[in-house]
Amino acid sequence: MKTRKVIRILLFLLLTVLSVLFLAPVFIVFMNSFKGKFYISDTPFEFPNGETFVGISNYINGIAKTGFLNAFGWSLFITVCSVAVILLFTSMTAWYITRVKTKATSFLYYFFVFSMIVPFQMVMFTMSKVANMLHLDNPAGIIIIYLGFGSGLSVFMFSGFVKSIPTDIEEAAMIDGCNPLQTFFKVVLPILKPTAITVAILNAMWIWNDYLLPSLVIGTEYRTIPVAVQYLIGGYGSKDMGAMMALLVLAIVPIVIFYLTCQKHIIEGVVAGAVKG
């Protein structure tokens, strides 16, 4: 029994070391965000000292150069609205095409599933042209694009769940005088809640971190956070490493807060999404 205990302690130590290694890159960025911009590239692994410490000036600089606060606002606006729109419309569509069995609905279903395996590069050029022509190249218009791209996975996941719930309750509601819309919102939607959480988390993670789609459709006029980060580097010739580090920290903080507050849902959602996807 004694050797068992020793093994346990060794494993615990091993995992602790690994955890420190996992967190180290983020910590290094955090540490460098307080150093002067010329001290970062050469000595990234040294703590800031009297000579290199610059307080929060990198943060002030980075926020000013990229309009980070606006970027945060646009990211939040686009993510929240897109997820809400995706949840509402794809759950309705999924319920309809699962309950009404015609050639058209099964064709639709397979088309949605098909869209999941098509890589973004296949449609990015033509899609951004179409979006321009239809004047969807702004933070409100991009919500429609996200609904379109998000519908594949979301319809697929909602349909999978709808198939598993018996129709009796819905039929009872209809007999009691509900029209299909009332039935959906009062009876079906509450049952779909667990899947809705999963779909919301998967889409929110994707949209919040998405770089290519907003940069192609909107450009740099209304920057989301990933676009702002890339803009800071791509935009000007010499890059300001200090502002860069501050911006990376600012980009990570909201995600970590979100993760620590809804960790349980996120991990469950990711597992459920992976198993079905």
Binding site: L11, P119, Q121, T126, G148, P226, Q230
Partner: protein
């Protein structure tokens, strides 16, 4: 019920269908058509037969990207799944602090690709600076940098899926094997691994498709440097579209090839999973 519901087709499906048509259906078919055309904007297309495909396959950057991506995918898939599986085994042994470890290992997965790329650019260049080198001196640094980055990002994700799989293995099965005299390694090989086969299939699929479609991380970490040698397929297609005027058609042809490649991998994986399901 179906009959009443049928009349509500428009209400329930039209918003999704319109958005789906605008952002996927039209661009997809237009993309397939334009890959056979010469164009700079989408309205001036002229049919050009297979010439874009010929140009794509005689383009060294594209062939290099293809080879680079395939090499990357193999190494990343094997290493990620190996480490993730080992961690999952450790974290299902009721060691103290399991929940905290799980939280830490999963965290990088939520950070976006662009941000991840720049974090690792700092770290890797910092290490190489000790040898007076940068990551952009040689393609091998960029290659291994991407492998490390991808491991860091996906190990936690795959670990979570493996943990779910391992926890579903019935305890009696393992106890029975132990009673029959199997040592821990034999239990792992003959009981645990066959029982978590579905998780392994899922993880392999996810890592393969994530490796093939990698873009943001590639753009931020190396941007293809040195001289496009570390550009993967998605980045090479992007550069062909937006880097040189007049090559939009070639970019679209490369994109179609890329799509077919990804689709073949996805479908063969699906077929494999189906067969496994029948066996169970």
């Amino acid at each position: 019920m179906e009959r009443t519901l049928k009349k509500y087709f428009a209400v329930f499906t039209v918003p999704t269908i319109i958005a789906f048509t605008i952002s996927f259906v039209i661009p997809f078919f237009m993309g397939v058509y334009l890959s056979f055309c010469e164009f700079t904007t989408v309205v001036d297309a002229e049919f050009a037969g297979l010439s874009n495909y010929v140009k794509a396959f005689s383009n060294m950057d594209f062939l290099n990207a293809l080879w680079f991506t395939a090499k990357f995918a193999v190494i990343a898939v094997v290493s990620i799944n190996l480490f993730a599986f080992l961690l999952a085994i450790l974290l299902t042994r009721k060691i103290k602090g399991t929940n905290i470890f799980r939280t830490v290992f999963f965290m990088p997965n939520l950070i976006g690709g662009i941000v991840l790329g720049y974090i690792w650019q700092l770290v890797i260049n910092g290490v190489l600076a000790k040898y007076e080198m940068t990551m952009f001196a040689d393609a091998k640094y960029g290659f291994w940098g991407l492998v490390i980055l991808m491991n860091w990002q996906l190990i936690g994700y795959m670990m979570i899926i493996y943990i779910a799989g391992i926890q579903n293995v019935p305890g009696e099965l393992i106890d029975a094997a132990r009673v029959d005299g199997a040592n821990p390694l034999q239990v792992l090989k003959n009981v645990t691994i066959p029982m978590v086969m579905p998780s392994i299939t899922i993880c392999l699929f996810l890592t393969v498709s994530n490796s093939f479609k990698l873009f943001d991380q590639n753009l931020a970490l190396t941007g293809g440097a040195p001289s496009r040698k570390t550009a993967m397929l998605a980045l090479d297609i992007f550069d062909t579209f937006y880097g040189r005027i007049g090559f939009e058609g070639v970019g679209q042809a490369k994109a179609v090839v890329f799509f077919i490649l990804v689709a073949v991998i996805a479908l063969s994986q699906l077929a494999l999973t189906r067969r496994k399901e029948v066996e169970n």
